[in-house]
Amino acid sequence: MTRPLLYGAAIFMAALFVAPFVWTLLTAVKTEAELYTFPPSFLPETWRWENFHTAWTKLPFTTFLTNSTIVVVLSTVGQLFSSSLVAFGFARFRFPGRDVLFVVVLASMMIPWDVKMIPLYMQFNFLGWINTLKPLIVPAWFGEAFFIFLLRQYIMSVPMEIDEAARMDGANSWQLYWRIHLPLMLPALVLVGTFQFMNAWNDYLGPLIFLNDQSKYTLTLGLSMFKGLHGQDFISIAAITVVLCLPPLVLFFFAQRYIMDSALGSSVKG
């Protein structure tokens, strides 16, 4: 295939994917009246950058940001550790019941969240965790099926001989996990980290159900407060949306090169 064709495709796709974001950004600096014109006005008459500040200070967004950060950081660390550990257990050992258990792992992805919610609420209420950030953090320390599955698939693409070599070198199972597989999983771990970060950052139902007090709210809950039963504050929603996108985007921009930096591949085969 010719390069120019590829570049053309790449630019076209990129434009397609960026358009919604640009549109949001432009909306954020418009006046409300400009939203409902036809033909649509792409550029605002005046760029009202103060919309960002206005939206941010309408509600205690700095508090929300702190809460979101705590949830995201703690849950991501926990998720990376626990899911990789469990994935390694499933990928590299044979034990009775393993395959059945793994189907259970898969199955646990398939339960609609809305039905689990009330029992979960009761349980967290019993533990005294309602209106704390714990329900949003602690479960991540026990691994999540999606990530376990993802990492297991990755580990299974690492030749078994690497493990055998390490075993012959005297590595026990923990060392095999910690010193061989964890570094090898790096690209997949960055993926998991990104996904978990995004899930926690954008989670709406969890915080809605488990948090009561505004001082505990996360950013998405704050965002949703611009949307009442009758009508919504489009400009503020757009402004906060843009702000909300930036941290994950910046993080992803720096993290993504590790996804490409797979040590595997050409290195293990002759």
Binding site: V86, D114, V115, Q153, S157, K227
Partner: protein
């Protein structure tokens, strides 16, 4: 308890100990087991229990046996309509999601300049939270004020009423969900990265054309990640809720009234938790069967480099 079963299976009559202790695998997966029992199994069984009740969110609960299941399959036309809509959606979404994700991953793997930026741009929509994405799409698709039809107008196309026309709304939702193809793309990209370059070089030297290299090297080597993407796509197709709930509210004329949304409505609009739980279990069953079928078929097309040896011995 688990350890005991393990010892029984080690049939060797000899004094010899296995190289790896029986306990070790269980230690590795113990976080998940604890988490599963604590945060999933209980709620799951509880919802199964609920499904045999007339369970309003507040007030009296009555045991009604299988009534919920009987009602939904024999008396409730919406159950079948929603199921059919969801199946249609899955049939459109799963192949497209995989295909687009794969093509984008290939594009990013082609070694173009500025790939880092492209990757970020492709992934951008996945970063935007569902609620915000919905707002954006309602502007894009808007019949009167929408950018999409405005742009289509330039090329002489009179755009359809995307969200207002029952025959277009589902398609519009499929397109909108494809904006979130970023995760599939990344997963497949990570898989592509793990394919040894030598395989391509060898094939190129033997004069295999590019399309054939993709078909005969890339796809088979990508097996594990493709399998993952297919199964998770199926699951997410069946659980599709946000877009239907916020973008079309199930309309027009119920044409995007997904199964998951009907579950949601039963739970939070009609406050009928028993019925919602029963529907969830039906959906759970369907998705589980589909996934198992895909898994089962996968042994024919997925190849694992590091498969644990002695698979046959596993059964004993």
């Amino acid at each position: 308890m688990t350890v005991t079963t393990d010892t029984v299976v080690a049939t060797s009559s000899r004094r010899r100990r296995r190289p790896v202790s029986h306990m070790v695998p269980w230690l590795f997966i113990s976080p998940w087991i604890i988490g599963f029992v604590a945060f999933t199994l209980g709620p799951m069984l509880f919802s199964l229990y609920m499904s045999f009740f007339d369970w309003p969110i507040v007030g009296e609960r009555t045991f009604i046996g299988l009534d919920n299941y009987v009602t939904m399959t024999t008396l409730d036309p919406q159950f079948w309509e929603s199921l059919w809509i969801t199946v249609k959606f899955a049939l459109l979404f799963v192949p497209l999601n995989i295909a687009v994700g794969f093509l984008l991953a290939l594009l990013l793997n082609a070694g173009l300049k500025g790939t880092g930026v492209l990757r970020t741009l492709f992934y951008l929509p996945s970063v935007i939270s569902g609620v915000a994405l919905v707002t954006i799409f309602s502007w894009l698709y808007s019949y009167r004020f929408g950018v999409l039809n405005y742009l289509l107008g330039f090329v002489g196309i009179d755009g359809p009423n995307w969200l207002g026309d029952p025959s277009w709304a589902l398609v519009a939702i499929v397109f909108a969900s494809l904006w979130g193809v970023g995760s599939t793309m990344l997963i497949l990209l990570a898989g592509l990265q793990a394919i040894p370059r030598e395989l391509y070089e060898a094939a190129r030297i033997s004069g295999v054309p590019a399309w054939a290299r993709t078909l005969y090297i890339t796809l088979p080597m990508l097996g594990p990640m493709l399998l993952f993407s297919i199964i998770t796509s199926i699951i997410s197709a069946f659980q599709q809720l946000t877009l239907a709930l916020l973008l079309t509210e199930g309309g027009p004329l119920g044409s995007t009234y997904f199964f998951a949304m009907y579950i949601y409505d039963n739970a939070f609009k009609y406050f009928d938790m028993g019925y919602a739980a029963a529907m969830s279990w039906i959906m759970f069953g369907i998705v589980l069967l589909l996934s198992l079928a895909v898994m089962k078929s996968s042994s024919a097309w997925v190849h694992y480099e590091g498969e644990v040896r002695g698979k046959k011995g596993d059964k004993s």
